[in-house]
Amino acid sequence: MTKNEINVSSLLYNPFDKESLKKLKEYDEFKTIPDDKIISYIILAYDLKSDVRKEYPSRNQQKVEAAKFAGFKFTSNQFDKTVEEILIGEDYDVNMAIVKYLSFFGKPELMTLEFLYNKQFLLLYNQNKGLDDEKDSHKTMMLLKDNINTLTEVIFGGSETITARTALYDYIQKNSTISVRPENIADKLSNDEPPLGDSNPYGEGYMPDKMKYLGGK
């Protein structure tokens, strides 16, 4: 799939149109996003109708490809440190923007997550300012963290907040060019290793079932 093949008309916002991005920036959550490429990335990776989500079955692959389409530099199988943090969910501001974007799709769990993020933010803010008036603020904080983790797993799929960096680079490593040489495929097959890493045109983990005899009729 090329950048031109992406059907932008089905998306809520056009990731490659400055005017469209400008509209998104009217929301508070997007005002803090320093680079339009990040907004493009959010649209491409998180819009429920994004072709990137359809074309690339693996979640990590979707993120990598969305970041590339958004225009982030990808050299020697690596992104810059800041982009890497965005992809693995370590940038708080971007996470908030993602939650906001997801809220446009009217999914209750997305809204809840947004609320939890805001609540968490407020707690932290008050603690830092010495304005903590909640009796069990620590307990509340832990509860919030658990809920956020659970919901993040539901929304983003998988335990990527925990192992995101490993998974992302595992994906990149497994799918580097060298592995598609016939000699490398043979090598991996002989060692019972998955010869193509996570790459799978039918979605992560899909394999045709083994055929079985059913009868003589």
Binding site: P182, A186, L189, S190, Y202, G203, M211, Y213, L214
Partner: protein, 771 residues
Amino acid sequence: MAAEYDKSFIVNDGVKGITPIRISLPKPPKYYLIAGHKLEPEDQYFKREVMPEKLKSLEKDVRDKLRQKDREQRDFRATGQLIEDETWRELESNEEYYAKEIEWIKKQWWHRLYGYWFFNNGKPTYIDGWHWFYLNYWPIGNERKGSHGLPDYRDRDRKQFLFFRYSFTTCETFKNLDTETGFAIADENGDYEIIELPFRVCGGVIQPKNRRGGNTHQGLCIQYEVTSRTKSTDKMSGIQSYTKDNALEHYNMKVMPAWECMPFFFKPQWEGDTRPSELSFTHRKFEPTLGGTKLTYANTAEATAFDGSKQLINLSDEEGKTLETDIIYRWNVNKNTISTGDGSTIFGWSYHPSTVADMNERGGMQYKRLFEMSNFYQRNSKTGQTQSMLFGLLFPAYDGLEGFVDKFGNTIIDVPTEEQKNNGFDRGYGAKEHILSTSDFLLKQNTPESLKSYREHRQLYPIDLTDFFLIDSGDTGINIQIIDKRLGEIDALPRNQKPSEMFDLKRIDPSNKDSDVIHIPNPEGRFKISFVPHSDQRNKRVQQQVFDRQKNAYKMAYSPIMPKFISCGDPFQFNTKTQAELRRDRSRWSNGGGATLRRRDMSIDTTDVISDWKSYGFVCTYNNRIAILDEYCEDMIMMCQFFGSLMYPETNVPRLYEYFLERGYGGYLAYGIDPLTGKIKDKPGFFTRDKQKLFQANKDYIDKRGHVENHDDYLMECKQIPGIEYLTDFDLFVACGGCIMGDQETTAPITQKEVNKRVVLSGQLFAPYRY
């Protein structure tokens, strides 16, 4: 809304004489990931992969650059290996630029290894990786415009490749097997219980086929696919055919052109120049000490060609044409090249396609036997393997017949549907009718030329199992037109109206070996019966004094009363359990044949026109592989007792008539009259050394009675026997011929008047009755 995907496919279907095999299909992925999901059903059909322009340019640019350098620099040579290597280097050093192309290559690899899904006329359809590789990367010289020489998608090929994969991976066998014959036993609903063994059970596929099916190319393609992606120091894949020249031709004319067209990402490094004498793949670039796999051909058709090798994929092409060697022996040698531990661990796979119309007598008969040894439903209880370690596969000629395949690759077998007509199919009939109407037309002409053409047409376009082994050895003289017509009539009858059915014959009191015999319906039974005598006519016998010449004394023995039937048994060689057990290879067991003929009843058939008779014809046939000869002999006694029939045995193996004597059934034995002396012969029955006479008996019977014969198993043997030299392979043919000869050579047909005459025993041994 997309149609539901197929949950299974079926092979060996629509071929009379063989049991179909139904196999499950994989569940599909999410529909939006399947090729063609965005298209309308009429636009959904198989489409080949299109290589991205950037990759095409990459290959071309590198090649042009190196060839230019080759021209300019004397000490530089642009070898094929260097071009491939440089292409990879270029790709790897520009990963970002080629990122999408690399993803595309990965997809190609995935489909090659695991298969491909596409929407076909609204239905999610799965094809195996071998099939996908064949369709996209194995040119076969297809001249259709736009095909680029690549094969067209055919649904028949889909089933074939899926079955190949099943045979390559399955560890399944039947839980319940007949302890003697190894045949799978179905439950009351006709279902089989399956168990999974911890090892593979099949070493390949044997497939009689008609011409132009592309089977040789398919076998070669699988060889390349597996060999070129396997890392091994000692394994290879070999092509063997009916002559060394033919194997070499396959390599030069089929493998080499395909390999030359192969894109760089499916072409591992190799040894030799741009047209090597064998494809030896090497991993030395990565591991200098490691050798590689190779794809090569045999320099001889002999069994020794690959002896001692370890084969990944073996292709044994056109075995039915082989004259230079015994192909069963050759396969027994090659079996050990695809497996270890006397076949206990199968690591390779072997494909045995052979063109029906090209089979000769020798190779054809051996090929037929190898096919019979590959019965999916007959397994070794321990290994789960068939006798040959192969599975037999057949497609009727109408499946995939050119001119009757729609754009979705499906064969229009019967009357075309409106949708098929709307899609451009302009005939009012399907492939099956096309073939059958040609046969019928030739039959109706009824000239020597048209009848010869009829036989040739059946060979070229086989539909029934018998057609697949209609080995051409010149004219046997047996009228197969009559047989085909009668087989067609029998075939068209509903299952509950077939003229003959399977039964077991058992003693009513198992503890009394001379008690009455009863018949019990059993689809897996040993006796095929078309006429059951009235209950008061069964088991009619007397015990009386007969002369035993061996003991030179009179002895009490059972005799039939007023026998209206004559039977024949064609026994086999082994007679003890120990001997049978020593012959572990069931393939070397011979069948025991038997038949009972109802003799002309002159009270019913008064005219001399044989073709008009109502009473005359076979009523029972028996053709079973039994381990112990005495058990077979006991079956023959029960058959004679049940029908009240004389036994006119084939006596090359004397055990059958000796057994009758030992068991006290000497009165059932029938004796011929020596034509030279006019005396009754010393021994009962006949020798098959008089082959011409036996052959003639069957031929005459088919001419006069074939049109009403009720035993299709006998008709099929008459159709299949290629010549007089093959009598030993056609036990039922011999047994039925023996009945006919016995009817002519022993006593005169029974008449109503004669029935009441007193029975007189005479002759030097146990002479036939005289009336």
